[in-house]
């Protein structure tokens, strides 16, 4: 069971003067149960790619397989609803999708659309709001009364309420302050380890990729540039160079030390680990 892209193309507004091919022959297999980062420059096709996972976009060529769902180009895909329940997609600036009068009602909106009874949906909503760390006193408040970061949590709760097995997040920490961003990432880690939800995160934040993800997929101009596990990615300068990213601070420091003749073991990527190694060197 996995997520698979086979020779997937996607073209926006085909056969018009504005035609634009966003994905070119994407071949990719993602195993479930992990936290995978999808990175790449703006316009590399990250958002377009993840919108194929719940059939918001249908491939113009090729095939996307998500568990038992098969979405093929030029074929009617009939199980849209069932797929969307399984794959929860959180959009960039998700706070803009809130519309109900109270948080509970908004979070319950998703499950109700999938046929869950009102009362039950509200129970689910409560538990999801708890999961994302919203105070119980706020449940009956209007979304308009919350801060930006809180609103985004509610929007994420709205997706969790459909109990997806795969959670896809498009730049979930954009525009949040550093502390808010960290709490958000901790939440995803918790969902992954406790609820075994497969998590795909589109992000630009390399510190987050290093600290939270298991695997990384790099897109470039609509193509898959590479797919590798996090350690291999951050241990090899040529990988990071090829992906054209700004390495996380700790990796930058490691490389700078190496240039100056102090090399640190490959697998050490935390401050504590590095400090230990440096001080050990002194005692010798």
């Amino acid at each position: 069971m996995s997520i698979r892209f086979e020779k997937v193309d996607y073209e926006y507004s085909p056969n018009t003067p504005f035609a634009f091919q966003a994905l070119k022959e994407i071949d990719l297999e993602l195993s479930l149960g992990k936290i995978t980062a999808i990175i790449g420059a703006t316009g590399s096709g990250k958002t377009t790619m993840v919108q194929h996972l719940n059939a918001l976009l249908l491939p113009t060529a090729g095939k996307v397989t998500v568990q038992d769902f098969e979405i093929e180009a030029n074929k009617r895909f009939t199980q849209v609803k069932a797929l969307r329940q399984k794959v929860g997609l959180v959009f960039q600036f998700a706070e803009y999708q809130l519309f109900e009068e109270t948080l509970i009602k908004d979070v319950a909106f998703g499950p109700k659309n999938f046929g869950v009874a009102e009362h039950e949906a509200e129970e689910i909503a409560k538990s999801c709001l708890r999961t994302v760390g919203i105070d119980e006193l706020d449940y009956e408040k209007s979304p308009l009364e919350l801060s930006g970061g809180q609103k985004r949590r509610v929007a994420i709760a709205g997706i969790l309420a459909m109990s997806p097995e795969i959670l896809v997040l498009d730049e979930p920490t954009a525009g949040l302050d550093p502390q808010g961003a960290k709490q958000m990432m901790d939440l995803f880690k918790k969902l992954n380890s406790e609820k075994k939800i497969t998590i795909l995160i589109v992000t630009h934040n390399m510190e987050h990729v290093l600290d939270y993800c298991d695997e990384v997929v790099v897109l470039d101009h609509g193509k898959v540039l590479m797919q590798t596990d996090i350690n291999t990615f951050f241990e090899n300068d040529e990988y990071m160079e090829k992906a054209n990213i700004n390495p996380p601070s700790i990796i930058r420091l490691k490389n700078l030390l190496k240039k100056n003749g102090i090399s640190i073991s490959k697998d050490v990527v935390t401050i504590d680990g590095m400090v230990k190694e440096l001080t050990k060197r002194l005692k010798k």
């Binding site: 703006t42 420091l253 401050i271 001080t279």
Partner: protein
């Protein structure tokens, strides 16, 4: 002369909670000041008050010695410009050229000089080749560069950045930070930047930390980061280099204080070779 002097400034959105409470600070001419604080701490409110986009409840704001009142807003806005967070919502013209022209039109620059001014400042921010592009064909970073050119074209001496890079990708962020540094290089422009980017803070001359509408800390970046615990309590970040140096010194490797990674590596090398 001070570029900006703020005295006992108060502001409330709803007349119950103070978004800005009794704030006083001074920004020297030609300096680079960063204002930090978590979301909702009141830092963007300060920016809007400086431009007179919100009307203060009490206190005073002096811009280049001129006190801001409801009567002289136009004059104040001739001295101070602002670049906002959302690149889309501040792109007013239908092309880069029109967007830069918008401010010139408002400030009644002579029409036959406009083209020259527009081209000069587009060149300055590296957008000359895009003058006739529409906003939909520009990246976020490019739109922010246009916003900067639009403000520069009006020949202000003070520039406020209200989280101008927070919606940009890393490339855009880098571009804009480099541009700001370049513009500030000859110290003719006073820069006030409201930001979450702790690395940017480390490079500035002065830091103002805002918490719950009040000024919690001020000083040079090093002075401010020394109050580590207070910063963490206010949900703020500490720069990586500062954290690392501290961890080293706690483990017996005492090296000089710095916020630059290059300097720190030099220090470490010296320390190691001495032993």
């Amino acid at each position: 002369m001070n570029a900006i002097e703020v005295k006992n400034l108060n502001y409330s959105y709803d007349r119950e909670n103070w978004a800005v409470k009794d704030i006083s600070f001074v920004v020297e001419e030609g300096s680079y000041t960063t204002i930090i604080g978590h979301n909702g701490s009141g830092k963007s409110t300060i920016a809007k008050l400086l431009l007179g986009l919100l009307e203060k409840n009490s206190g005073s704001i002096l811009v280049e010695g001129l006190e801001l009142t409801t009567e002289n807003l136009h004059e104040i806005r001739n001295k101070i410009g602002i670049v906002f967070q959302n690149p889309d919502n501040q792109f007013i013209g239908s092309t880069v050229r029109d967007d830069i022209a918008f401010g010139l039109e408002n400030h009644c620059f002579p029409q036959d000089e406009m083209d020259e001014i527009i081209e000069t400042y587009a060149q300055k921010v590296g957008m000359f080749d895009y003058l006739d592009n529409e906003p939909t064909k520009l990246s976020g970073g490019q739109k922010q560069r246009v916003a900067i050119a639009s403000v520069l074209a009006m020949k202000h001496n003070i520039l406020v950045f209200d989280e101008a890079t927070s919606m940009l990708d890393p490339t855009g962020k880098k571009e804009i930070n480099q541009l700001i540094n370049e513009l500030h290089k000859d110290k003719k422009l006073t820069v006030i930047s409201i930001t979450h980017d702790i690395e940017e803070v480390a490079q500035s001359d002065n830091v103002i930390v805002v918490d719950k509408g009040r000024i919690a800390l001020t000083g040079t970046p090093l002075e401010v980061f020394k109050k580590e615990e207070a910063l963490i309590k206010m949900q703020l970040d500490i720069p990586f280099v500062y954290k690392f140096r501290k961890a080293l010194s706690q483990n017996g490797m005492k090296i000089a204080e710095t916020l630059s990674m290059e300097r720190m590596v030099e220090e470490i090398c010296q320390f190691v070779s001495k032993k």
